[in-house]
């Protein structure tokens, strides 16, 4: 059993260590813009922090409240993208992004029991902001429909998976012995809020 584990570990380590530049045919084909839309937010640290913070916040509030975001978040991304393309003048505001990181972090750290409607409004607002920010980087040759589909799909996947992982980790019904998990999530909120606070300061300083 131990040898099987060692062999599997070696194979996995080998696969990871020997990763090469991806050059799949499908990216260069007609569907390439779908992958551009899906990968664009994943290569932006701002998106990663905000999306993870949103997912963890929703997950920490429970499945009943969080499940609305499965729809609200991708729809918000699409709304932001459409808004940016329609107006052409919506550009990302660094202070707004930083402020949103701070707010999400504070809500997590305080373990605030925010109502479902408020959670949906925050998630939708955040998604609109980030959808518009992502749309700002779309080139003239990009197929907007495919880009939007990729963005919405990755938004759906990211928020759903983050909520699910948080719910599984939190296990609110596990009793006092698992109380440290709630504290760990609140500590993560403290870290996120600290990052947001500094970025707010930086946004105003620059």
């Amino acid at each position: 059993m131990r040898h099987r584990f060692a062999h599997t570990s070696i194979v996995i380590a080998t696969l990871v260590a020997s990763a090469q530049a991806a050059d799949a045919h499908i990216v260069a084909s007609r569907l390439g813009d779908f992958y551009t839309g899906a990968l664009h937010p994943l290569t932006d640290l701002q998106d990663l922090i905000l999306w993870v913070a949103m997912g963890v916040l929703a997950g920490s509030l429970g499945a009943a409240k969080g499940r609305w975001l499965v729809l609200a978040f991708p729809l918000g991304l699409l709304a932001g993208l459409i808004l940016q393309r329609a107006s052409g003048s919506v550009s990302p505001v660094p202070a707004a992004d930083a402020g949103m990181i701070l707010v999400l972090g504070l809500l997590l750290a305080a373990s605030a029991r925010i109502p479902t409607a408020m959670l949906c409004v925050i998630a939708f607002g955040l998604a609109v902001m980030r959808g518009a920010a992502n749309a700002g980087d779309v080139g003239p040759d990009t197929n907007l429909l495919l880009f939007a589909a990729g963005l919405a799909c990755v938004g759906y996947a990211a928020i759903t998976l983050t909520m699910a992982v948080t719910l599984a980790f939190r296990r609110p019904d596990a009793g006092a012995s698992m109380a440290w998990r709630g504290i760990a999530i609140r500590a993560l909120g403290g870290w996120i809020a600290a990052i947001g606070l500094m970025m707010v300061g930086f946004a105003f300083a620059s």
Partner: protein, 201 residues
């Protein structure tokens, strides 16, 4: 039985030898910013020992300090970070940072049991000065957001390290070991204090 691992090792070595550079999409300066943020609290010994001492002291004090600390400390430190970003000077920062190692080390060595509010104020004051030192570096980093993520995570992990060491207090010998560690931190704090005052080179 052990010979069965050789084919896998050969495959592993062959695959590693044939590996090529990865051309992943990367935001400008993220890796550099993250690395410098992560390393900043770790390469300054005065920062490092003070952060670990905060964690140990929190563990010694028990609830609620042990769980309030990791939640609020980064936030208070970020206030100092903002002052640093905005280039708002603090009085004698090097002296206060050295003093933080001395005071927190002494608190651990003496198992000082201050009321929670008083302990929180002591830690908060020092947190602002430590955050100021980190924050002053932020605007010049390759990616400020990545730098912020790096130094907050590094500081949080140092606390966690301190809290983990602090769990040794559950055993009598562990408690004495931790007090000894506190004395070492205080002694280092004395050295840094003397250095910041110009008494030693």
């Amino acid at each position: 039985m052990s010979f069965r691992i050789f084919p896998h090792l050969v495959i592993a070595l062959a695959a590693l030898a044939l590996a090529q550079p990865v051309s992943a999409h990367e935001q400008a300066g993220v890796a550099g910013g993250l690395a410098s943020g992560l390393l900043h609290p770790l390469t300054g010994i005065d920062h490092l020992i003070a952060m670990v001492a905060v964690g140990i002291w929190g563990a010694q004090l028990g609830a609620p300090a042990i769980w309030v600390l990791p939640i609020t400390f980064p936030l208070v430190m970020a206030i100092g970070g903002v002052l640093g970003v905005l280039h708002i000077p603090l009085p004698v920062p090097e002296v206060v940072i050295a003093l933080s190692a001395l005071v927190l080390g002494a608190a651990v060595a003496m198992r000082l049991r201050l009321p929670f509010a008083a302990a929180a104020v002591v830690v908060a004051v020092f947190a602002v000065f430590h955050g100021h030192a980190h924050g002053a570096e932020l605007p010049g980093s390759a990616n400020p957001l990545a730098y912020g993520v790096g130094f907050v995570v590094a500081t949080g992990l140092l606390h966690l390290c301190g809290i983990t060491i602090g769990t040794l207090t559950h055993w009598p010998a562990g408690g004495r070991l931790i007090q000894g560690l506190g004395a070492v931190i205080a002694a280092l704090g004395c050295y840094f204090l003397a250095q910041s005052l110009g008494a030693v080179a």
